[in-house]
Amino acid sequence: MDAARPPILEVRGLRKSFGHSEVLRGIDLAVAPQEMVFIIGPSGSGKSTLLRCCNRLEEPTSGAVHLGGVDLMAPSTDINAMRRKIGMVFQSFNLYPHMTALGNVTLALRKVAARSRTDAETLGMAALDRVGLAAKAKSYPGELSGGQQQRVAIARALALEPTVMLFDEPTSALDPELVGSVLAVMRELKAAGMTMLVVSHEMRFARDAADRVIFMDHGVIVEEGAPDQIFAKPREARTRAFIAGLTRS
């Protein structure tokens, strides 16, 4: 990370417990503008929970999250306004099945950003065009392939012009032949300078697109570094074991 640039997303001392089990045990993380950070780790390591705490879909037990200097945990912060700046993409797409692709993309524009219908549709079409799906604007999610659905979900987040995007295993639910189309969109976003925090095991993609890789286990960050270092020369034994497992499969 370039130390000269102040982080756009900053997580400090983040802890999260569900009942008696502590899923996040003190996470510190800073993401610089335009940086693409990958989070890897075994299931149950707290990766998704960390992501979900970044926009308070999950309420942290303690700790701080700042976006562009704004304290997301402060009572005075309008969390709905802040969430517009934090796009989120989910493993299972979570498109609204009763709305067309364009309807999915424009809902928040109309209801949160208070744009007129024509305005929202112009922006929505631009977002769909960006993920290569302008032609599918009138299709319902059920009529789209998994890859197309995920790209619509990306467009839904993009339409709000977020400053950061969170990806929670965006390709894990996809058939292998559809993964490429989603990664291509993420690559395009990276080229356009989007700041991204990605939970994913797409190693090859991480190696050539990520600026930094973070390895998490049991609710803590075990190791972080450049992708080449993490994947080729991990320092920690736990990281090594995990990477070896990934490579085998």
Binding site: R52, N55, L57, N80, A81, M82, R83, R84, I86, G87, M88, F90, S92, N94, L95, Y96, P97, H98, L107, A108, K111, V112, A153, R156, A157, L160
Partner: protein
């Protein structure tokens, strides 16, 4: 055979009873236009309260819903109409029916809505909230449209039950369809007006019952 036709399918008597029975039908339709919307709106409120994050609100709502579903609607109606005057609350027949139906049908509609809302996956909430939609907007634009679609056959079924249930308004002398037909019966000493009333219910509700079957088949596929 002749006697059966005389007693049950006497067209002459039906024709004479028709104006009275039609007046009753008007009352029944009026009742439906009051109690169905009341139940649909009340049910939604009941459902949301029973899903409230406040434990007190949630449990008291669940208790109330259970209570009003377990008490026979006829008992509830007689209590509201004939019991409450002892507490100084005297309601007109129509108001009494509206109150009793509100409590009973809202509880049933409430349970249906609740099942519907719970059938919509957590991911839909996540997605909507992550774009900055408030809880209310998420509910009204994302969750409820899907919830209602998922339980539409049940909502319509329950509505058929409500329409049929309006006949209990006859016990508080509200001259709805059954009450009017029964009056005609007692004047003519002939059961044909009742058969006429049954035929009217059938004509009204049979298409709806068909619709439910089609909705259910569509849901299954």
């Amino acid at each position: 055979m002749e006697a059966i036709i005389q007693q049950f399918f006497n067209l002459d008597i039906m024709a004479r009873a028709l104006p009275l029975v039609l007046a009753g039908l008007r009352q029944t339709l009026l009742l439906c236009f009051i109690v169905i919307p009341l139940g649909l709106v009340g049910g939604l409120v009941f459902a949301l309260a029973s899903l409230s994050s406040s434990r007190t609100v949630r449990w008291s709502m669940i208790a109330a819903i259970d209570f009003f579903r377990a008490v026979p609607p006829l008992v509830l109606l007689i209590f509201v109409y004939s019991g409450l005057p002892f507490a100084g609350i005297r309601l007109s027949p129509l108001t009494a029916v509206a109150v009793a139906f509100f409590l009973n049908t809202s509880s049933y509609y409430g349970e249906i809505y609740r099942a519907g809302i719970e059938s919509v996956g957590r991911g839909q909430w996540d997605a909507a909230r992550s774009t900055g939609l408030s809880a209310v907007s998420t509910l009204s634009h994302v969750v409820l449209p899907q919830a209602v679609r998922n339980v539409l056959p049940d909502l319509v079924s329950n509505t058929v039950e409500v329409v049929k249930l309006t006949s209990i308004a006859s016990v508080v002398a509200l001259p709805e369809l059954l009450y009017s037909a029964d009056m005609a019966r007692s004047v003519t000493f002939n059961a044909s007006p009742i058969v006429l009333a049954a035929a009217i219910y059938l004509v009204m509700l049979w298409p709806v019952v068909r619709l439910i079957s089609r909705l259910e088949r569509r849901m299954a596929s």
